[in-house]
Structures are given as C-alpha cells and as structure tokens.
Amino acid sequence: MYERILIPTDGSDVAESAVEHGIDIAETYGAEVHALYVLDLDAIDVSLGTEQVDRIRAGGFDEMPELQERARRATGHVADRGEERGLTVVESVVAGRPHAEIDGYAEKNDVDLIVMGSAGRGGVRRMLLGSVAERTLRETTTPVLVVDARED
C-alpha cells in the first residue's frame, strides 16, 4: 500500500511531532522514508535579503554553510529516528515555496503518503503565518496525514 512515505520537516517541534507517526507507518508497511527540507525562498528573501535568493538560484547553496547545517539538522532528525528502526531514509533539500515543493517532490518520487505536522493555529495567527499543511492539502493529490501538534 505505502511504499514511499514523505516526511517534510523544517526542524521545528511542530514538524517533528509528525515524525513518529510517519516512521511507525513506514515500519508497518516496510516503506522507504523520504525526509524533505524546503528552503523557503520567502523566508530567505525577508531574512537574508533578495540577493541571497539569486545566489541560491545561481547554484550558490554550496557556499552557504549555515543554511546547509539547518537543513541537515532537520532531515537528520528524521533519518536518525528511521535508522533506529532499520528503515531506509532518503534526505533531500529543495528550495521554493514549501507547499508547492512538497507536492512537486511527492509527484516526482511516486510518494504514496505525506505525513506532516500542523501547529493548529487559528484566527489571526493562521492568517499571518498560514499553514503549510493546509496549503499542501489543497495543492496535492497524494494522500496526506496531518498530525496536530497541540497536546490536548
């Protein structure tokens, strides 16, 4: 049923709250796990500057060790959890708008299930921050399991 499971992560607690769920399903089905970090170009734009977006476009990611480190930490967390259970974990980093990139990656790699966390924000906070999970749901045709990070 599930041969490839995609776990997108930005390294936050919210994203990592979904990791256990994803890994558990992967173990049950003997699936391959894909850990994906999306370099949010909007975030690069307002936090590092527009020039840095052009730099990434021009293939300059290899000379941006701080960004690589962040991405590696995020996907590494998934990889560690997966390897503890003896699963194959593929780590990937792409750049763009997170929801579009998650969908694009799922399409390209024949992913059968996306497992991701959501902060479950409401009201103004949702309007401001948006929900990557919500947008991914709307964008993709791949099944999505959304794990609500709120503990209640």
Partner: protein, 573 residues
C-alpha cells in the same frame, strides 16, 4: 493667475489672493497614471514569474548573473528619488555647492571597487551585521550593527516617501500627503508580500525604465529648446553662461551657499557613506566571483554616472525655464515670490526634473514618463532598504540574538512585520518631512559613514582590530552622527527650542548631512586605540581577515572562511 503687482492695494487687502503653491500642473492625468500602473504591473509580473520558478537542483550551478546585469541592479538600488529628483534640485538651489552631491555620490564606488568589493565577496556571508558580528566575534557588535541598519533604512526611506508624494501630486492630482500614503502603501504591500520585487532581474528592469525616462526628458528639452543635440551632458555651457550673466551670479560662486568646510565635509560624508550602506554591500557577498564583483562595480558606476552627469544639465535647463517658462504656467519667479530660481520653494526644487519637461511645454505623456521614472527610482531603492531592515530584524536580531532555533515561518513573519512597521513610520514622517529629499538621504549617509565605514574597512584590512575596538568605534560614530541630526532637526518639531538647531555652533562644525568628516577619523582613532590596549582577536579571525585581502586569487567555490579554517597558510603570510 493674478499678478500681485497689478492689484490695487485697497483691493489686495480685501480680496484673498490666490496664493502661490507650486508650479507642477495640478489635476489627474490619465496617460501618466496608466504609465505608472503599467510599470507597477510589470514589476509585479516579473517578480511573480521568478517567484514561482523554483530551484530544481540546489547542487547544480544555475544561470549566474553577469557584471552588466549586476551593474544595473547596483544602479537601481543606488539611484533613489534623491538621485533622480533631489540632486538636480540641490544643484539648482545651491548652485556650485550642490555639486558636492554629484561628486560624493559617485566617488564612493571607487573606494568600494579598490578596497571592499572583492574583499566582501570573499567574506561571503549574508547581511551587513553578519560581517560585523562574525568578524568582531561579538553579539553586541552584531546588535549595534543591526540597529544602525534599521536606522539607516528608516532615514533614507523618508526621502523616498517624500519623492513619491511629489510625483503622485503630478500624476494623480492628489495632495502631497495623499500621494505619500498611496505610493508608500503600494510599496509596503509589494515588498511585504513579494520582496522578490527587488530581485536582480527586476532591478535591471527598474534601472532601464528610470534611465530611459530621465534621458528622454533631458534630450527632449535640450532638443526642443535648441540647447543641445546629441550630447546634452557637454552642451549646456552657453546656457550656464546665460544663467550666470543674466539670472543669478550666485549659481557658480563656489561657496555662496555654504562654506568651504561645509562643501568638503559633505562630499567626504557622501563618499564614505556609500561604502557603509548595508543595502549596497550585500550585493557583493553574492556575486559569482571576485572578478564579477569588480566588474559589477565598474558597470554600476557607469550606469550611475549616466544619470548623475545629467543632473547638472537638468538643473541648468530647469532653472532657465523656471525663470521664463515656455508653457503658460506661473512659477515662484514669475509670481514674484522669489527673486531668482535659486529661491524656488522646496516642493518646486524637488520636482525640478519633472518640472523642466513640463515648463518646456512638452507633451503630457512625456512629462508623465519622467515622473514615472522618479517613482521607479524611489520604489527600487525603498524595496532594497525595507529588505535590509527586515533582514536586520529577522536574521540578525530575532534569529541570531534572540531565538537561535527560529523556524523559517517565524522569520517570514518577523520580516514582514518589520517591513510594515518601518513602512508606516516612514509614511508618517514623510508626510511632513524635516528636510529636502537630498538632505534626508545625506543624513542616512552620514550615519553609514560614521558607524559602518570604519568597522568595515578596518575589519577587512587590519587583523588586529578587536571586538572592544569595533564596539567603541561604532558607539562613537552613533553619538556623532545621531547627535548632529538631532541637533538640527529637533527644533523643527518643537517650539520650545528657538532657531534652526539646538546649538548653532555644533551645527556648523557637525552639519547633519556631513558629520563624517569628523566622525570617520575619530572612529578610526578610537578603534585603533582600543584595539591596541585590548587582547588580540582569536587566531581563526586573523586568518579569515588575511584571507579576505590576500592577493592570491581564490576558487569560485571557496569562501575565505573555508580556506582559513583549513588551517592552511594564506598567501600573504
């Protein structure tokens, strides 16, 4: 219009006279308005197109940006409403003295080219406070640098808001205040929602629009008045002679509008301010290699000069037309409000470039295009400033100093809130600006020169500069530059202090736009002195600095940090 001289005194006391406000045509203009809308749509369209185009493979070199395109981006980033509108205004109203702005705002790129462009490329980080924080291994230094970046963006952007208001007055026929609010809101929305507007591609387009608009106006005026043909840059000699002989001799008297000291201090501040502006430096971090960094600077300077050398031409053409308009319009001179063009009110002066084309009675679409170029100039620079402010807040302050593990989403929100907040603040101040556009921007330069230039320069070239030295130097710069600005602007906001400055003596020695002549050497002395008495920087920092200015070329893929971290000996050891 009513000529005040022709009204009998008895009537004049009863009938309210039509007061002279400004010479720009009032009223909404369809074609110019459509030009601006089309221009904004183009920026947004290009921004959107490149925004959705994602990066497929991060590890494969994509299309890198060449020196010409980088040069155009430097030009668009650099040339704001202050260059496009303000410099001609200052040359017209201050005469020879105004040339300090032309000299100051071009020469700085030579210093950048020789001492800093390639060295910053080697350092290769992200923001200006990143350099200060990493080079001086201090979060305090990083914090001061981030605060200064915000202050520079704020002061600099006020001048842009002012320019936008004037252009909106002409194009949309609204009041100055409404104009500031409309165009500033558009800019804030653009930058907050798609800061990609500032991407290199768009900046090259913005440069093209602004330079075409500027030159088309200049050539058309020169041609239609029979003053110039193919090289208006060099052909306005007879017109200058006419001004000097018949209109106002002061125009070429070197220090009629300010002392020799003031001229030198201003030019000095502008030159070194150029080398300390965060939104200018960040481009050098990201170019493909050192060679591109250097050639981008050269091209940037060429593109900048295309406009700057034309400002004096505009000032001369505009001044003659202001005294004797071809178009049937009242100016301050014909209305008897001013004795010569040099006494024109601030609103007319700051709109002089557009006014020149209008007074020459050229078609409305052309006047509108020149005004649209002014909007493009203000918009491009404001976008760059807002992004430098948002990165100082989201990257340097929020992520590096406050919350190490901030997620990308949090950075987006902090960045956007900063843009909106600083934008609104700028809008409020720009509605009632404390000085002319050129002067406001001059103040931002004084801050950049006093606070940033010394730490950038010594940080790149002197390995023994310590964190204590850098912090002391930046604080010195802050006290001097902000002190000079507050000294001269606070009396404008309160009646409690009479006169133009809190202390006129201080204002003469430390003018708000020119405090760097004293501030920069003083900051250098403080940094050197404090560095000598504090313990040396760590060895890895020294290696990094040596690598940044090493004469040995580096490979594209290397950063100075990599080479230095390998423990390898830098080439000049």
């Amino acid at each position: 219009m009513i000529d005040p001289a022709s009204i009998p005194a008895a009537v004049g006391t009863v009938v309210a006279q039509v007061e002279y406000t400004n010479a720009l045509d009032p009223g909404f203009k369809l074609v110019p308005a459509l030009t601006v809308v089309a221009m904004l749509a183009l920026f947004l369209g290009v921004g959107w197109f490149f925004r959705v185009a994602a990066v497929d493979d991060l590890w494969v070199a994509g299309r890198s940006i060449g020196p010409i395109e980088n040069g155009m981006a430097i030009g668009a980033n650099w040339m704001s409403a202050a260059s496009y509108l303000g410099v001609a205004a200052l040359v017209a109203t201050l005469g020879y003295f105004g040339l300090a702005y032309v000299v100051g705002w071009t020469t700085g790129y030579f210093i950048l080219l020789i001492f800093m462009a390639a060295q910053f490329r080697r350092f290769g980080k992200y923001t200006a406070p990143d350099f200060v924080g990493d080079r001086f291994y201090s979060d305090t230094a990083r914090g001061i640098a981030a605060f200064t970046t915000l202050a520079i963006a704020f002061v600099y952007a006020i001048g842009q808001g002012s320019g936008m208001g004037l252009m909106a007055e002409y194009i949309l026929g609204v009041s100055f205040e409404v104009g500031v609010i409309v165009f500033m809101s558009v800019t804030i929305g653009y930058v907050a929602l798609s800061g990609m507007l500032g991407a290199t591609k768009n900046m090259a387009i913005q440069y093209t629009i602004l330079i075409v608009a500027f030159l088309l106006g200049m050539y058309a005026v020169g041609w239609s008045q029979g003053w110039s043909t193919v090289m208006p840059y060099l052909e306005f000699g007879p017109e200058t002679a006419l001004i000097v002989e018949e209109l106002d001799r002061q125009f070429i008297e070197p220090f009629a509008s300010g002392s020799y000291y003031a001229w030198v201090a201003l030019a000095f501040s502008l030159i070194f301010g150029t080398c300390g502006l965060p939104h200018v430096l960040v481009r050098f971090y990201t170019v493909d290699n050192e060679r591109t960094a250097r050639w981008s600077t050269v091209w940037g300077l060429f593109f900048i000069c295309l406009l700057y050398l034309g400002t004096a031409t505009y000032a001369v053409f505009g001044s003659i037309l202001y005294e004797d308009p071809v178009q049937d319009t009242e100016t301050a001179v014909t209305a008897g409000e001013a004795t010569s063009f040099m006494g024109m009110p601030g609103a007319d002066a700051d709109a002089l470039v557009v006014l020149t084309v209008q007074l020459a009675d050229l078609p409305e679409w052309l006047v509108g295009l020149v005004a649209a170029g002014g909007v493009a100039a203000a918009l491009a620079t404001t976008a760059g400033l807002f992004i430098s402010a948002s990165s100082a807040a989201a990257h340097d302050i929020y992520t590096n100093l406050y919350k190490e593990d901030a997620t990308q989403r949090e950075q987006v929100i902090v960045g956007r809130v900063t843009i909106v907040a600083i934008g609104l603040l700028v809008m409020v101040i720009a509605i009632d600006p404390p000085a002319l556009i050129g002067e406001l921007v001059g103040m931002a330069f004084a801050i950049a020169a006093c606070v940033f230039f010394p730490v950038f320069f010594l940080g790149l070239w002197w390995e023994n500069a310590t964190q204590e030295g850098a912090i002391a130097g930046m604080l010195t710069g802050i006290v001097i530059s902000f002190g000079a600005i507050l000294n001269a602007t606070i009396p404008g906001y309160t009646d409690a202090i009479p006169g133009d400055a809190i202390s006129p003596t201080v204002a003469t020695v430390l003018p708000p736009t020119s405090s760097a002549l004293i501030g920069v050497p003083l900051a250098f002395v403080v940094i050197v002195a404090v560095s000598l008495v504090t313990s040396d920087p760590p060895e890895d920092i020294k290696r990094l600095v040596r690598q940044c200015h090493s004469p040995k070329p580096m490979k594209r893929s290397e950063s100075a940090e990599d080479v230095a971290a390998d423990g390898g000996t830098p080439a000049d050891d």
